[in-house]
Symmetry: C2
Subunit: 314 residues, 2 copies
């Protein structure tokens, strides 16, 4: 599929897959991965003020104004120009090259929201900064744990600031590991998965997550994830969702408990991920992964790394 | 008050004050402070198998076998020798020099528990390691956030391991700040304060604490606590206890909100503490502290630092 077109090119953006939660960092932590979607934006020749989506024909991605990119662009314009935004709209066409698996817990929808944010900021010359973009994006997708790392790159912890708006902190870590994604062949709708988690949770579960996540971050900063499997354990989301991704959780528990390899569910699943330290990589590849591939033959196994760069124009 | 005695000296231990929670690190984080209690242990001449407590006459500290040191020694013996422990008991007398304020949220009772653990380990030649001591101590005082840093020194995050026992992680940080303790003239019973916090808490509050605490730890490791007041905010304990330490919480909020100085309640209060960065220390002392001292005239203001050493024999 070519990204070329005879129409006038307005901008090109690259947005990254993200893995949210990282085990105990529920609804606040996310990691940008080196897997990305590319979007080319052309002047449209339609009278319709909406995005027409060309490119790969991917099931579940709308090709009309209901596409998340289009929705996001309208939201940005509405925030900037109020209800008159409709007068400012330019017809555009977007061509895409999609590499991020859809509805697998890898932040696919955030790649579209962030694309919409960056496209609107550029083609309407808005000069919105990254925090303004984040907070507009959150009106579309109300959880920052994918959008913030998708915008900023790296390992990002988002938080609600005193004034109620979201901010984030990019955490410097030592990346002496590879990230193994284990992607099963079915989709999970994030909104459905969210409903499985009650509004009130046991205090003791929260304490476990607070301790584990802080230690996990400390270990990542020290470049010391050997024997860190204890610290990726979570009690706030994965146990409630175990019926929607039983095999994924089995892999996670097997890696954590039998091999001391830190593993967790990516976002709301069904993808599982693991941090494979460089020092154990050869051993893992030769002795552990072959058996996993046999046992979990429906899963795609794929190594990736962190994208320390955030989404960008190219 | 002299620590000397004509009786045979068995051991001397020094145990440290601790500040638990550090804002969002509820029930898992604690910091050992450079304020300590010293205990000298002598052979007793009594037939009673219990600790007789000499030294300062401090209200609220039992002088008989109900003293926490004595209770802890019995618990260690019981764990080691079973119900026959009574046959192993040696009569001892303990003389103390108490510097850690009692029932102020500075881990005073943990100094006694840890003293009991270390004394028992030494005088009965038990060779228990620090994790064994921690877990026995937790049978007396069931929360690790004071006992673990009192034993290990430094900034410690405790966690429940897979097998249910407690472990801890000592976090290396850059200490480019002073710790200001603000100690009001009244006591709070920790057990009573614990009952104010419900067993079920809003998920959103837990998420705030998870994010804030991980960022706070990251900032402390980077030696960057400028503008870190956002990250010491907590929703899991301080708001529930605000009626028991209203002035302490006022100081905390004033420092956080008006001066961007990270401050929180120490343990279950009523002491408040703040991290005063070296770069702002002069400015704080000249411009902020004088007003605070006038406004909160019932509080003692005291600077201290971290004790990176854990409790020890001396």
């Amino acid at each position: 599929m070519s990204l070329k077109s005879s129409k006038k090119l307005l901008t090109k953006v690259r947005t990254f897959a993200t893995s949210a939660n990282l085990g105990p960092g529920f609804d606040c932590a996310g990691l940008a991965l080196d897997i990305y979607n590319d979007f080319e934006v052309y002047e449209g020749n339609s009278k319709k003020n909406c995005v027409f989506f060309n490119g790969q024909d991917i099931q579940g991605i709308a090709k009309d104004e209901n596409n998340l990119i289009c929705i996001t662009i309208r939201k940005v314009l509405e925030r900037k120009f109020g209800l008159n935004f409709i007068n400012y709209q330019k017809p555009i066409e977007v061509t895409c090259k999609i590499n991020v698996p859809v509805e697998r817990g890898l932040g696919s929808s955030s790649t579209a929201v962030v694309a919409g944010l960056l496209i609107a900021n550029r083609i309407y010359d808005l000069n919105l900064d990254i925090l303004e973009l984040l907070n507009i994006g959150l009106e579309i997708e109300p959880h920052p744990d994918n959008i913030a790392p998708c915008l900023a790159g790296g390992l990002v912890i988002s938080y609600k600031s005193k004034n109620g708006s979201y901010k984030f902190e990019k955490i410097n870590i030592i990346e002496n590991f590879k990230i193994l994604l284990m992607i099963p062949d079915f989709k999970i709708n994030t909104n459905g998965a969210r409903k499985l988690i009650p509004d009130l949770i046991p205090k003791e579960d929260a304490i476990l997550n607070i301790a584990n996540f802080a230690i996990l971050i400390s270990r990542l900063k020290d470049g010391n994830i050997e024997n860190a499997a204890d610290f990726i354990r979570d009690k706030m989301h994965q146990p409630y969702r175990k019926d929607v991704y039983p095999d994924s959780l089995n892999i996670v528990e097997e890696l954590n408990n039998n091999f001391e390899i830190p593993a967790a569910i990516s976002g709301s699943g069904p993808t599982a991920f693991a941090f494979i330290s460089e020092s154990r990589f050869k051993d893992f590849n030769e002795k552990i992964m072959p058996d996993l591939k046999v046992k979990y033959s429906d899963f795609e196994f794929k190594f990736t790394k962190i994208s320390n760069k955030g989404s960008y124009y190219f």
